[in-house]
Amino acid sequence: MNSKKIITIILLVFVVGSVGAMIYKELQPGQTDPDAITADISTENVPQNQIIAYYFHGNQRCPTCMNIEAYTKESLETNFKEPLDSGRVVWQPINIDEAANRHFITDFELEMKLVVLADIKDGKQIQWKKLDQVWPLSGDKPGFLEYIKVETEEYLKESV
């Protein structure tokens, strides 16, 4: 058997095997990611009135997506330390590639990975807002931090 045939067989085995592996992976029930939240938003062990800042991401994390997540977290931790500590504001990254979290795609009409603020009153979600400027601002860190700050402040004021 010459080297050309060996390479061909190896590559064909790789192609068939990888397609099989991807189908198998897709058919498996979602694995539990320790950081992922799979429960619904109305849980009993959190304050009844809160603002949840969701960041929705998938299994694949592009550099821009990771910047969006890091900047949002930084802005919240810098500007809303007290509400975060008290549970009035909650930071919640969620992997929507996990089967249990896919409902968020339709719940929040998500077309892309982004930040959503959800207003919870008496354990019920009463309104939410997609922060879709996070993508255009992803290259402007100061502008991004300010955007998250202003939007969260407005939401906090509205939900008092």
């Binding site: 050309k4 390479i7 061909t8 590559l11 064909l12 790789f14 192609v15 990888s18 397609v19 592996a21 991807m22 992976k25 897709e26 998938g58 299994n59 694949q60 592009c62 550099p63 821009t64 997506c65 929507i96 590639d97 795609i105 339709t106 009409e109 998500l110 077309e111 892309m112 990975k113 982004l114 879709d132 993508w135 255009p136």
Partner: protein, 226 residues
């Protein structure tokens, strides 16, 4: 004024998508495929046009279906980001194997074989068009944000579900085709000067096949291991 603003914005969003880092791997694959026939610059140009048409047609179809509310945009966006992306890797490995002649269409009948050979050239064009369609459908987070988050709202606002997505598609192909044509022209001039066109064409095709296989393996492993 409005028309030119929309036209320019759609084109610019397409170019932005193309030069963003996340579709880099598929862009390199497309550039290699389009520019591989350094012996025939006109062929490269036609391949580039078919690739552009494939992309434009895909966004045209998607845009018109979304703007006319036939499709559930959130579900579609995440479906495309997740599933099409999964199969681009294995597909590129197979295309690379054909270019390296590791795989070939063995057809017994000599008449049919001649027919296949005659059409191989036009299949190269159609292959570029198909590659354009598949790459356009394999959304990554940045391209999804630009298409679904910026282009579609613009198309809805100006009620242009056909034209603006097509212009966006042309924008996504422009940098890739331009670079492919420039590289092919440069390689053609050098190889002509040294009278080595056939040799350079063989190398270009082999390198293209190798690049497609490597990118295919990279994208496949990225999907399996993540």
């Amino acid at each position: 004024m409005d028309f030119f603003f929309c036209f320019g914005t759609a084109l610019w969003l397409g170019v932005l998508t193309s030069i963003s880092p996340c579709p880099l791997a598929t862009n390199i694959a497309a550039m290699s495929y389009i520019g591989r026939r350094v012996d025939r610059p006109v062929y490269v140009l036609w391949t580039g046009l078919f690739y552009t048409a494939g992309r434009a047609l895909t966004y045209f179809a998607l845009g018109s279906l979304i703007v006319s509310s036939f499709l559930n945009t959130p579900q579609l966006s995440f479906f495309l980001q997740k599933y099409i992306h999964m199969f681009v890797g294995p597909l590129l490995v197979v295309v690379g194997m054909f270019l390296l002649e590791l795989l070939s269409l063995n057809i017994g009948s000599s008449g049919l074989s001649q027919w296949v050979q005659k059409r191989a050239e036009s299949w190269g064009f159609w292959g570029a068009g198909a590659l354009g369609i598949v790459f356009a459908l394999s959304f990554c987070p940045v391209s999804a944000a630009l298409f679904f988050g910026s282009l579609i709202p613009l198309a809805i606002q100006y009620d242009s579900g056909l034209l603006l997505p097509s212009i966006y598609g042309i924008g996504t192909a422009l940098p890739v085709v331009l670079f492919a044509v420039l590289i092919a022209l440069g390689a053609h001039s050098i190889s002509k000067a040294f009278n080595q066109i056939t040799k350079v064409e063989w190398w270009a095709r082999s390198i293209t096949g190798g690049i497609l296989i490597l990118i295919g393996i990279y994208l496949t492993l990225q999907n399996i291991l993540v």
